[in-house]
Amino acid sequence: MSLDPRGRSHPTYIAFILHRVSGLLLALFLPLHFWALGQAIHGEAALEGFLRWADNPLLKAAEWALVVLLALHLAGGLRVMALEFLGWRARQKDMVAASLGLAFAAGVLFLLNVG
């Protein structure tokens, strides 16, 4: 795989890469997330134990990153489907920008609330 960045710096290409990388990371996170929530099966104490273990700056940062990735992927997915089903052509840059904006907003909100 050789990816010369000189032909791949337009906003819609970057949107594709962000969508793919975010989707990939989210997909890898999903089983972990389900495993963690599944601790509840062993009772409240088990879930609480996991949450206390996860209560450190490193994992908080990872959680924040995941929230941003989720918002980013959501926005990117809506972009793709607007093209596919609604036949949008123009204003591509605006759509990419709006996607980034949504992800950014979700990240900031999350940060404000964690504090």
Binding site: L30, F34, G38, I41
Partner: protein
């Protein structure tokens, strides 16, 4: 035969549409939930015996599992060259299993 791939494509868009709503709900829940830190008591307070939430999380988990597996199939085909019926069936299985794993977690939060 290309019909299988077309169905996977359609399934990914249909799940994506549902996930669009579910993820928006989830982001709001998360942002409210993490306010002042998370505790098991708080989470269970929301989920225990809450049938509507349970059903929502079941649908969310299955849709996400399937959607993600179809996405991984594409990435693996393009970046690793994993193509063919065997891989397709394996990805469907992985998607279903991941989804059911999520249903198990939702069940735990519902009855715990």
């Amino acid at each position: 035969m290309s019909r299988g791939a077309v169905h996977l494509w359609a399934a990914q868009r249909v799940t994506a549409l549902f996930l669009g709503v579910a993820v928006a709900v989830h982001l709001v829940t998360i942002i409210i939930a993490v306010r002042g830190g998370l505790s098991a008591a708080e989470i269970l307070g929301r989920t225990q015996g809450a049938t509507a939430w349970f059903l929502f999380y079941c649908a969310f988990a299955l849709a996400a599992g399937l959607h993600a597996a179809i996405g991984l199939r594409t990435i693996a085909a393009e970046w690793l060259g994993w193509r063919g019926r065997g891989f397709d069936l394996a990805w469907l299985g992985i998607g279903l299993l991941t989804g059911l794993f999520g249903v198990r977690a939702a069940w735990g939060l519902y009855v715990a």
